[in-house]
Amino acid sequence: MSATPILSLSGVKTDIAQYHVLHDVSFDVPEGGVHVLLGRNGAGKTTTLRTIMGLWQARAGTIRFRGQEITAAHTTEIARMGIAYVPENMGIFGGLTVEENMRLASHDGTFDPDRLSRIHTLFPAMKQFWAKPAGALSGGQKQMLAISRAIIERRDLILIDEPTKGLAPAIIAAMIEAFREIATESTILLVEQNFNFARSLGRGVTVIDDGRVAHDGQMDALADDSALQTRLLSLSLDQHQ
């Protein structure tokens, strides 16, 4: 690939307290579409996203966003450069209304009507519960709010951590459609355990194991190679139906 990747990690090592969690993580995320980060539980996927976002500090290595180094940047700066983060626990402000949650994600507190109506079309529940406390939403609706918040303004890159965890199949199907649409204007780096979900969206895929990159390639190739899947993920498509 000749174009500069939108995100590039090289030799990233991250410690949490006294534990070495990321030993050596290097991969590129090309601009556009969905890039998937796979790996077993505890492999270091969340830690990778948090390190990109500046919520953990890398001990070594470099992280570049559009070629510019952000390894030591403050989370606030990273967010302002155009990176949004949807954490594993969704990070919803339960005591605030849906509207207030969304307002916080807009840098000046106002909404672009076109984007807002697009979000309401993608996730009708957001319109329905607009004035309700976000803490009262169901798990799926909270996830929709977390994603809506990430796209209320155009972001170059959206980091999303396991959005389908604990969700019903119908909601997951709606989520696929939403992600396809979001990926037309933003690059998505998606951490996912649900391989079918990942496969239906992802173009490139990086597999992390024990804090290291175990595989880096195209999603199609991985999806066709069940032996590789088993080796990398100890899961097969049939099991994960």
Binding site: M53, L55, H74, T75, T76, A79, R80, A84, Y85, P87, N89, G91, I92, F93, G94, G95, L96, E100, R103, L104, A105, H107, G109, G135, R149
Partner: protein
């Protein structure tokens, strides 16, 4: 039982507790005139403690910072207001509401301004280096408290200082056989206005929205692109200013103050913050009114229990609601 619970919840739930305490006290005391006097005293005391407690609660809620130095702002506020009033003694004693109000306004503003500036200094120099480290927070803020108390001793000396009260706040109203001290009504009103102002800021402004969000989830506010440390510095300054104003009001209430005034109030302030629930000003208000009322009623009914009564109140409430009455939502 369930119906009763629902009815209580509809009428205001835990917000009704001060009313329940007041009604119980009316039955126990019997004499309505005495009860009114005690209730006004309790509400006034509660509002002054609210001023002292609200900032501490927000600071803890927003940044998990344990500030044991908070009482220094209360003491300094009291002494600065006392000295300002002494300087303006001509206006304080004048038979003119305008001059009285000016003197009082200047004294309270001086205390508040000191709180803002000293709060900023305290946050930047003492608290910022120990974010996220509770043990060091306790040690360093206690150290700062000792320094502040010594400063007060050095500036004002150790003997009690008498606080002149503006003429228009002297005396009481006599309604039937009930006496109501004017100063208490004034203290209540001032505290209530401060509460309304804080509530408006938190509920209806963008800064307030950020503060409420920050109390719930600091990291997420930063991930959305906002500097929570700057927000925190602002909250710390305002909280310190409110504590100083609370101290100033308390000085006028006591009329004779000593340097350990802040430390004495701090016990009540901590009780209020804990029973109210961390990070919520509604909780602080509720806790403060309960503490003020209980202290005054028990002080009358069973003076020997006065000191213990608020501790008992705290234990009972924590057994019932370990998070306090109205804690801020945390995610």
């Amino acid at each position: 039982m369930e119906r009763l619970q629902q009815t209580v919840a509809r009428m205001g739930g835990v917000n009704l507790l001060p009313v329940a305490v007041a009604l119980a006290a009316l039955i126990a005391i019997g004499a309505p005139a005495t009860w009114v006097t005690l209730t006004v005293a309790g509400l006034a005391m509660g509002m002054m403690i609210f001023l002292m407690a609200s900032g501490l609660s927000l600071v803890f809620g927003l940044m998990d910072v344990l500030n044991f130095g908070h009482s220094a702002f209360i003491s300094f506020g009291a002494f600065i207001a006392a000295s300002t009033l002494a300087l303006l003694s001509g206006w304080v004693a004048a038979d003119s509401l305008l001059y009285n109000l000016l003197a009082l306004g200047i004294a309270i503003s001086a205390a508040g301004l000191f709180g803002l500036v000293a709060g900023w200094f305290f946050e930047v120099v003492i608290v910022k280096p120990v974010y996220q480290d509770h043990l060091r927070q306790i040690l360093i803020t206690m150290g700062a408290l000792i320094v502040a108390e010594q400063l007060i001793l050095a500036i004002w000396g150790g003997s009690p200082l008498s606080v002149p009260r503006p003429a228009f706040l002297q005396g009481s109203w006599l309604i039937g056989d009930t006496t109501i001290e004017i100063y208490r009504v004034f203290a209540f009103l001032l505290g209530f206005v401060a509460f309304l102002g804080l509530r408006y800021t938190l509920k209806s402004t963008r800064i307030g929205l950020l503060i409420r969000a920050g109390v719930e989830n600091r990291e997420m506010v930063e991930s959305l692109g906002f500097r929570i440390d700057r927000l925190f510095a602002g909250v710390f300054m305002v909280g310190s200013a409110l504590a100083a104003i609370g101290g100033a009001m308390w000085a006028g209430y006591e009329t004779l103050i000593t340097p350990d005034l802040g430390a004495e109030m701090m016990v009540l302030v901590f009780i209020v913050v804990i029973i109210g629930g961390l990070g919520s000003i509604e909780g602080s208000l509720l806790g403060a009114l309960l503490v003020g009322l209980t202290g005054n009623y028990v002080g009358f009914l069973a003076p020997k229990l006065a000191l213990a009564s608020n501790m008992i109140l705290m234990m009972v409430i924590l057994l019932w609601r370990p998070q306090g009455l109205r804690p801020a939502v945390r995610t």
